[in-house]
């Protein structure tokens, strides 16, 4: 059964892990309601917590397309849950590129997996797109409306179109760190239990 095409079983695996990853994202997202600053820390939390299911997912990938489809699904879910569609190109691009990187290591090379996951994590930045895009006009509105400039700066210091580059880099870095942690946990549990 070494066909190149994805089988029904692969699609089900993709579905399961996408659901798990989204639950992680959602749980972390909930924390964002506490204060806007926490929203910025998504780039640390989601890559690291998400690495546990994702590293398990990587052990199940043998064929091209699984990561790409996962990113498409994430984009669809983000869209349907009202979190905007402007990030979709970023999500899908990072998924496909991550898939290509992992494929160049035939889905076995650990180094490639780390980089691939780092790239995949860039999708998290799609969460910021609506805010970044609305931010400028929004800030103007707020100040026109009489809000203190101090508050506005507070709100947008963490997230604006300049820092988005920094956030992307952070996503990648913490993605790689997360991959190492996730892999250690997969070894500690799933390999020891003989599941993978």
């Amino acid at each position: 059964m070494n066909e190149k095409k994805l089988q029904a079983k692969d699609f089900i695996t993709i579905g399961i892990f996408t659901a798990l990853l989204f639950v992680v994202e959602f749980a972390c997202g909930m924390l964002g309601f506490i204060h806007p600053y926490i929203v910025a820390s998504y780039v640390v939390m989601i890559p690291i917590v998400g690495s546990i299911p994702m590293m398990l997912f990587y052990t199940k990938i043998e064929k091209f397309g699984m990561l790409s489809i996962m990113s498409v699904l994430l984009a669809i879910i983000m869209f349907v849950t009202g979190m905007g569609y402007l990030g979709a190109p970023l999500i899908i691009a990072s998924g496909v590129i991550a898939d290509l990187i992992a494929r160049s290591g035939e889905y076995k090379s650990f180094k490639k997996t780390v980089i691939s996951y780092g790239v995949f994590c860039l999708w998290i930045c799609a969460n910021y797109f609506p805010v970044v895009i609305t931010a400028d006009s929004y800030r103007k509105n707020l100040i026109d409306g009489g809000y203190t400039a101090e508050y506005c700066d507070n709100l947008f210091r963490a997230i604006n179109s300049k820092t988005i580059a920094v956030l992307l880099v952070l996503c990648f870095v913490f993605g790689c760190v997360g991959a190492l942690i996730g892999k250690a946990i997969v070894r500690k549990h799933f390999e020891k239990a003989g599941i993978v």
Binding site: F11, G15, Y147, I195
Partner: protein
Amino acid sequence: MSVKLDPRTKLYMIFVVSAVVMMSATTPFLWAVRITMTMIPILLLIMEKHYAAAFRFLILYAAALIVTFRFLSESSKGFLAAFLVGYCSIIVQFMPAMITAWYVVRTTKIGEFVCAMQKMHIPDGITISLAVVMRFFPTIKEEYTSIRDAMKMRGIMLGGGNAAGIIEYRMIPLLFSCVNIGDELSAAAVTRGLGGKVKRTSVQELKMSVADYLLMLLFTAALGVFVVFKYIK
């Protein structure tokens, strides 16, 4: 009375609302359009008998609107005020998208959704995966509830003296369960013909009704208004 909307209309609604929340309303007219757009999903929720949710959204949205417009416009200083403004403006800005999404997620059956995707010529692989995602959310919830119970019984809700344990003890049993369920689910699905070469059919019948066209028209108009104001005027 209940209006059965086509999932494609609902997706279009989300599309428009998500676009509009990213453009700020600068004139009273735009505010009126925006508020009308928010009221439509609330009205639809009421028609579908989701009274509690509709009521909650309505109150929250109205409260946020009032706070932003009335009380915090002139001399809002200090941490608390800033905090409150932050919340309320975020709610006013993004709430319409949340309400619409909530309405769509609550009132669309997965079968309908998958069928709509098929009609839009999205490949089977993606629709299958997406159906699994939908089926797995409640499963994850069930499994997680049991795991949390087990953690309570062990007294390790906070990781049992091990900070990483807070995440590890939740995640590990959850992953083991999900992988097992996934294996059994795949076996059961392939023996019922999933993954065959024939094109899947669907018993769902999707038809655009007058209400669908009407809503699409309305939302397109609203989108038009915002685009004109933002880019042309």
